[in-house]
Amino acid sequence: SAMKKSSSEKRRHVVAWVNKAEWDQVLDYLYSKDPALQRFALQRVSAWRGRYAHNTPVAVDCTADLVRCQVLDRSGQLNGDDLVLLYGAALVRFVNLITERQQGRKARPLRRLAGKLNIPEWVVDLRHDFTHKKLPTLKWCRKGCKVVLEWLQQEYWSRQLGGGADEDWESDSDGEEEDAELKRQESNLLSRQREMEAFKATRDILISYESERYQSLDGPQEDRALAPLADMSWLLGEIKQLSLDSSDLLVDVLLEDGFLVPTVEQLETLGCDPFETPGSSEPRVPQPVLRFWLPLLKMLNSPSFIHLLLEKLFVELKVATAEQTDLRVFYLSAWASEVLLCNSNKFEFRFERKTQKKARMKDRIFMNRIQLRWQQLLSACLDAPCGSTPHLLQLILDDMEHPLPQDTQQKLLQLCSIYTQTPAVEFSLPRDQKHQPIYTLESLHEKRRQQLRHSGERSESSGDLQRMDVLTEKAKVLRGSPWQVCSDKVLWKNFPLGKVPGQSDDPSSLMVETYSAMTVCEQPVEMESSRGQNAPGVPGPARAAEGLIWNQSDVNRLKCGLKLF
């Protein structure tokens, strides 16, 4: 069935550029060979570093450092020796940082790592010269810089933002990624193949079971449901073994169409009307279908199997509801209901006659109460809302070992019936609560309309009004300061963070044309100058008892505090 989720939605990541246009502009300018444009791009990358904090992509950092060398080189302001040192730092950082991700748990030679990445060997040698040998010549520096920038453009910039898989900045994946990835794929393939084979084998056994049962249907009436036929015991043994080895798989196959969920043809063969049942809010499995499967289920009724079956029934129910396959929805919920009913100890059965009881027991999958993980079933049930959910929910709630408080049960059931839009369910509630209305969306709407009419409010809900009050109050407090509560008539919910009304998508829209630079005296922090005895510059009372009286920064502070008339 269509169990696989389409992974069409790619993960979103936060990046430093506002949009693709800004990225394209920076890329263009970095590789423009025009020092003015390159400088512009470098300044923008400095802003990106501000946004990224410690998460700037290594390739962006390295590109910027190398372009900076080129710009300074072309400016003609530095001499050759200066430049060699600059190039050296940028190239060493490039080789080390870019190969870092290739490192495994053990340190490996840079040459090998760089080779894997298609970085020319002589670039690695150049790095080695910088760190351990005589400084290379400026000519080699320039050549190295040029080649590495080309490499970065090819391997990173031109391939980026064109789609790809996702891995997070934060996730610390291990090195040896490629090898591991290959191995993973291989073993995935192998295990999938094994899975397919097991699946097919399970299917075959269950089909044999079915054909055995159909054959026995033609036999005498009495045998149909009772003691499994002798020749079936071998088959049942097989299935039992299967359930021990891989109960997961067995349940999966059982819940495929054509097994516990019968096809139309199967239903007709069993003498059931396939179009009669669906839509019921309290579904039960038709007796012929139930009896058809009883021999198998009775043999498999261990608590863990029953629990697994229930869980998977709900999982499949969720899928089926979404796909609106009515027959499937009906049978899945009917089986869930059947299993849950086996577990219940409803006292209405206490006074039945022996023959009644015997008849009832005959059609039960198991006799003794099973301790299920009710909390999990509760979530599974609520996770698969459909028309019969209130009924199933009721069965679970009734059967819990430690029942939820009455009012919680009631609320859950009410919420559930609202959500699934089913008609009122009968709750097992105290009498006085029984007459409380069951809310539906319509009734809530109506109630709300009435309330609004009563309070005389027209357009705005009370929550909005309350918020308006809060904003007015805030505005009042801010009066006289440059701060205000924004009073523009803006529907802020239409503007994501970082965007304001009227802002263009042009990547230059946030440039600051003119600005006032402000220099604050490099002084140690002084809080609001309310404390009279603590004039700036005078050491506080908690002065160090040992060591120097004034350190360098104290002296700076003193200097700052000095006023010369």
């Binding site: 400095s46 990224y52 998460n55 990173y156 970082g498 802002q503 946030l510 003119t514 120097l548």
Partner: protein, 553 residues
């Protein structure tokens, strides 16, 4: 609960002690005391409620309990059933579901929807199917130890408590240090809670930039603690008395700035205050980090120094008064006999204080958590989300995403803009700060513009009153739009916005509902598979070939 019975759990609830006495994280709750919120998310060690039983006097337990319960249990039958189990040492607690703007805000993000559920490692130990599950509490089986308080920890706590009760003159000043992940902040929470059993206030000086207790990360602050800390830091974000935005989650870039900030915060504390002070420090106990500790002990009038360590080896030298005499600090130096020192010593005798050693024994000590929600960057993200949850209104309506809120506005000529952690060209400044987290600061100088926005040529460490999200910039009108939970009466005074290396949690940007396609600073097309696409990767414990097959393995 019977005496010494415990309830270790995941989830959240409000606890009220109806009868008897219980203890959580060192804090005792007596019957009749007010209710407290408890938070036990998967990100931290689970909380344990322990029944202490009532104090010694004799009482008619059953009738009294029955009377108390009348208000809470209307059904006489169940009340009777419960009262039957009450003995003189029993405690009865009431757990209510807890639903706050914080929890609602956090659960609105997909990756945090299971934050208050047990982590995978505890799934086998969860006790499901109890009436508690319905109200948001999932008990853990006894094989989960919860917080283990070692013998040395108990001893240290009682020494400090006794000191605060009056064994020393003035107030106790307790500095806590130890290597990263050794449990400093957990120890401090227990210490503060224990102190709050005896005193109504405790002062707290924050010195750990990465794992802050009351503020977003990257801040140093001085706080007065009045309420017990019954959950991890992100559940009790409060406005401190004084705060400085340092702008980084570690202090190595500016050691002087770090020390100066702490000194200046200390000077803000009224010297006459007679309540205990707890000082938390960075988990950096090597090299310069150790020297900073030496400085702090010299600068601040500490009475107790608590060293936390784990395992057999202590991770650094013990900072005893003896050791301090000869220790090299970053700003201070060991005493040498000079005229000057004799002069100072006549005023202040050599430092004496009590050095206490605590052996940390909790599970996972000294290991950085690797499970979901337990990594330190996730903790920092939670701190910020905890802070930003204050933007949600108290009414229990649906969560309102940040971008839907009405912002404040301020002319860019009236507030200065600066970057703490790196250099950004002024003309490109808006590209760095738009849709970023900024510290709201107060410069002593007046901010005036000779035209255009005011840009700080060099950011300084200055008083910070809180944080905001620079929601957008209107370049045409020269306005900043800002979202902040800071009270407007305080916001009035803010004249400087500082950008630091503390970024907005990515989910704030990526999970803005209502936008199908383009959102600023968000893309689904960035590939991390390309070489160089990730951040600088720091290898911890990379093995060089020569160390192979030795003790590192």
């Amino acid at each position: 609960m019977q005496k010494n019975q415990t309830l270790c759990f995941r989830g959240k609830c409000i606890v009220t002690c109806l009868y008897g006495r219980v203890e959580v994280m060192g804090f005792t709750i007596d019957e009749g005391q007010k209710s407290y919120p408890l938070f036990s998310p998967a990100s931290h060690c689970p909380l344990t409620l322990r029944a202490l039983g009532h104090t010694d006097y004799v009482r008619d337990d059953r009738t009294e309990a029955s009377n108390i319960l009348e208000d809470y249990l209307s059904a006489a039958a169940s009340r009777k059933k419960l009262v039957k189990k009450v003995t003189p040492t029993s405690s009865i607690i009431l757990l209510d579901p807890l639903d706050t703007p914080l929890t609602r805000f956090l659960s609105s993000f997909t990756h945090l929807s299971e934050l208050f559920s047990p982590p995978v490692s505890e799934l086998m130990s969860t006790v499901l199917d109890t009436p508690l599950n319905g109200l948001g509490v999932i008990p853990l089986a006894s094989n989960i130890e919860g917080l283990k308080i070692s013998r040395s920890c108990r001893d240290a706590l009682s020494t400090v408590i006794n000191a605060c009760k009056g064994d020393i003159d003035g107030c106790a000043v307790i500095l806590v240090y130890g290597v990263k992940n050794v449990g400093k902040s957990t120890f401090i929470r227990i210490l503060i809670n224990t102190l709050l059993n005896h005193t109504s206030n405790v002062d707290y000086l924050e010195g750990d930039l990465g794992q802050t207790e009351f503020t977003p990360p990257g801040c140093l602050c001085l706080s007065t603690v009045k309420e017990p800390l019954l959950g991890p830091p992100f559940t009790h974000q409060v406005t401190p008395d004084h705060m400085i935005y340092y702008g980084q989650s570690s202090c190595e870039t500016d050691l002087d700035g770090y020390l100066e900030s702490l000194k200046s915060l200390w000077r803000r504390r009224p010297q006459s205050r007679e309540i205990p002070v707890i000082i938390n420090t960075m988990g950096w106990v090597k090299g310069f980090g150790f020297q900073l500790l030496v400085d702090l002990i010299r600068f601040l009038p500490v009475t107790h120094v608590v060293q936390l360590s784990h395992g057999v080896s202590t991770q650094c030298s013990s900072l005893t008064p003896d050791f301090l005499r000869t220790a090299q600090g970053y700003q201070t130096h060991p005493t040498t006999q000079t005229a000057l020192d004799e002069f100072t010593e006549s005023h202040c005798p050599p430092k004496t204080y009590t050095h206490l050693h605590v052996q940390s024994e909790f599970e996972g000590v000294a290991r950085q958590g690797t499970a979901t929600h337990q990594r330190s960057n996730e903790h920092r993200e939670l701190l910020l989300l905890g802070y930003l949850s204050q933007l949600q209104s108290d009414d229990s309506g649906p969560v309102r995403p940040l971008h839907t809120l009405t912002p404040y506005q301020v002319p860019n000529t009236a507030v200065a803009l600066g970057v703490i952690h790196c250099e950004v060209a002024p003309s490109h400044m808006f590209y760095a700060v738009n849709a970023s987290l900024v510290g709201l600061c107060c410069l002593a100088e007046k901010v005036t513009s000779k035209g255009g926005p005011v840009i700080l040529s060099q950011a300084t460490l200055c008083p910070c009153v809180g944080f905001g999200v620079l929601r957008g910039i209107d370049t045409a009108r020269g306005l900043y739009f800002l979202l902040t939970p800071v009270d407007p009466s305080v916001l009035r005074k803010v004249n400087c916005l500082l950008l630091g290396a503390i970024s907005l949690p990515s989910c704030i940007l990526t999970e803005q509902p209502g936008f199908e396609s383009e959102m600023p600073y968000v893309t689904a097309d960035y590939s991390f598979d390309l070489t160089g696409a990730g951040k600088i990767r720091v290898f911890k414990g990379l093995m060089r070939p020569m160390y192979q097959n030795t003790h590192f393995l």
